[in-house]
């Protein structure tokens, strides 16, 4: 199983992080990505393939105190 932001996302299997983010419409300058609790830096988006078992978090800033 692949989990992205808490949802099952088997359609991302085999995609690079870069391709997945673009296909979903994320604005790359506004987000950060964590794969299995390790940060994926922007320069590695294209070379990092999403595979079965991955837990991916994509975050951004929101209002907060």
């Amino acid at each position: 199983m692949i989990q992205i932001n808490g949802n099952e996302a088997m359609q991302a299997d085999g995609m690079s992080i870069a391709d997945y983010l673009l296909s979903e419409g994320y604005v790359l300058s506004h987000i950060a990505v964590e794969r299995n609790e390790v940060i994926v830096s922007k320069k590695d988006y294209a070379d990092t393939r999403i595979q079965d078992g991955d837990v991916i978090e994509i975050v951004q800033f929101m209002g907060g105190g």
Partner: protein
């Protein structure tokens, strides 16, 4: 003296002593709140991104304002460290406000986990500003862990109840050699002013402004109150008599001399 009055956090110098929280606003009111408050630092939260939101809060924050991401949502040191690293990855600087809570009723911070997270993040080069329960022993541990400031709470987050912990914040101001920034619970400009008169380095407020009737006006009122309190502190407050009164007019020289 107030003209050159600044304070420093991790090598960065600030002249405004008002840190604005960005929660609970309509995005289009944030810019006004920042500029009317004269704030140079604004806090942000880190949350799962949603591609359906076409707007991003960063587009509403004026240029030159320092971003202070918080670790809200973290229940222990490890989660706070994860959030801080993600925030830094977004490329908005090294500041982080550590906020660790697992009590959903009072939202009180866990000082022990906060000290652990401070130590890890300070070693990684973060400018660490821990939100804490005002306890002197914990504050000393935070200093030793490498904090750039301490942020004791005035009363529970979002309560607008004011300086419930006043005596204990005063102890921190007197004993801790870092900027003491009063955070959480400040509900009115008068309370912000009072904390500044006590010698706080700065005030952080969010709910008091975000839930006010007129947000830009309340932001301005807070800015003025914080400046007034700072001026009063630098001036040295007048003494308080234990009992009785003391005339402020000359008592001799006319009717009954």
């Amino acid at each position: 003296m107030i003209e050159n009055d600044t304070f420093t956090l991790g090598g960065h110098t600030f002249s405004s002593r008002f840190i604005l929280g960005s929660g609970k606003y309509n995005l289009d009111l944030i810019r006004a709140a920042v500029s009317d408050a004269g704030a140079q630092i604004i806090t942000l939260a880190v949350r799962r991104a949603n591609t359906k939101d076409s707007e991003n809060i960063l587009d509403y924050i004026p240029e030159g304002v320092t971003l202070l991401p918080n670790t809200s949502g973290a229940r222990n040191a490890d989660e706070a460290v994860r959030i801080a690293r993600l925030a830094r990855e977004m490329g908005c600087g090294d500041f982080v406000k550590i906020e660790i809570m697992h009590d959903s009723k009072y939202l009180l911070p866990d000082n022990y986990e906060t000290i652990k997270a401070t130590e890890i993040l300070a070693k990684e080069g973060f400018i660490v500003m821990p939100y804490m329960y005002p306890d002197l022993n914990a504050a000393r541990d935070l200093v030793n862990a490498g904090a750039a400031s301490i942020m004791p709470l005035a009363s529970p987050i979002g309560s607008n109840k004011g300086l419930a912990t006043k005596e204990f914040i005063q102890i921190l101001i007197d004993e801790i050699d870092l900027p003491v920034i009063v955070d959480a619970g400040i509900g009115k400009p008068s309370q912000a002013c009072e904390a500044m008169e006590m010698g706080a380095a700065a005030i952080m407020a969010n709910t008091a402004i975000a839930t006010a009737g007129n947000i830009p006006e309340m932001a301005k009122a807070f800015g003025l109150a914080i400046e007034a309190g700072r001026r009063a502190y630098l001036s040295g407050l007048g003494r308080v008599l234990n009992k009785g009164g003391e005339a402020s007019d000359p008592l001799t020289g006319f009717l009954h001399n």
